[in-house]
Symmetry: C2
Subunit: 207 residues, 2 copies
């Protein structure tokens, strides 16, 4: 039988295990679970763990203390927005709230921008890119790299100033750093006068 349906009791215990890990950075012991649910025999708990393991919600390492490991790919969707936001596929009329059924996924920064060592975030200082949907105060996600292609929006350093966010283009021998706002001028420099520090791959704005 390949049943994955959990009983209420099994669901509660799975949720408790995940909650304990979140709060305590470690799974509960069999007896701690038993105490929480007033199960006086460790075998009672072990039966639930057997069921959760058989149904594919946890993994266990035999003989290891606190050897319960929730299968994260499943539990993070089941248990909802614990450290992410629910992404709803559509907002439809009628329903008073966000039904779990419309859930398209959980929004986590790490899923969107996998956290490699070369990524960093930078708060935007001016309005020069407002025409490209990057406003003052926005946070841009940048992949650190010393080169970039034509058309990329880059973080660059000119004249030893702080980093500026502009669109990169090369015309002849010159490097152009173009704003996306007519109030600002394009910066034209020779190669060597411009130090490219990274490419903008994302934007986060809090309004």
């Amino acid at each position: 039988m390949n049943d994955t349906n959990l009983t209420d009791r099994q669901y509660s215990i799975l949720k408790f295990i995940c909650d304990v890990i979140d709060e305590m950075s470690r799974p509960p012991t069999v007896r701690e679970i038993g105490h929480e649910f007033s199960i006086d025999s460790t075998k009672g708990v072990a039966d639930h763990l057997d069921a959760l393991e058989r149904k594919g919600w946890i993994e266990r390492e035999p003989g290891q203390a606190r050897g319960i490991r929730p299968v994260r790919e499943r539990t993070k969707k089941l248990l909802g927005p614990d450290d992410g936001l629910p992404i709803v596929g559509s907002v439809v009329a009628g329903g008073p709230s966000l039904a779990r059924e419309n859930l398209e996924g959980i929004l986590k920064l790490d899923d969107l921008f996998p956290n490699r060592d070369d990524l960093f975030a930078l708060r935007v200082r001016g309005d020069s890119m407002s025409g490209a949907g990057i406003y003052k105060g926005d946070i841009v996600i940048v992949r650190g790299q010393p080169q970039a292609d034509m058309g990329d929006i880059v973080v660059a350093i000119v004249d030893d100033e702080l980093g500026t966010v502009k669109k990169l283009s090369k015309i002849g021998e010159k490097i152009h750093l173009e704003p996306a706002n007519p109030d600002y001028d394009t910066i034209v420099k020779k190669p060597g006068e411009v130090e490219i520090r990274g490419k903008v791959i994302g934007v986060i704005r809090k309004m």
Copy 2:
């Protein structure tokens, strides 16, 4: 003595503990740490744990299996971008990479948009708000609420359709849902024909 400086050995062990928790959802045992670092006596490990605890980097629960808990407020800053991105205050000339010294903080979605139950995320379907820096494919962060103020960007349902993102205004008795793109028309409806589902409080774009 209120020293917080860690030796190389202590740092390595602290990092190992945090890494194991990340990967295994549980802390290592004293003997597992010893095995990793070729320390044959549990007392050798215990000495390091004593030092880490005394210096305030971990907490322990005496007698508990795997009773080591890193002090998260400190370790997440020390160990860097494990589930967040470093926010650099400024990008300056010279430095080849992101120096930890310029670190302004760690970008975590939960810090930006504290995860209350009334928040959700929605992927934007059309271009109608491109003039307000919200493009097709962007993810908007929405606070679910049945009303909104003039000028708010809202998620609304009109004619039982899927949710649409527009700027709200009220002119006389009519409700206006204004796009930020001249290619689209303003939707004008009577109250009761429009169901407001939430207010847009953030935007995330991956390019």
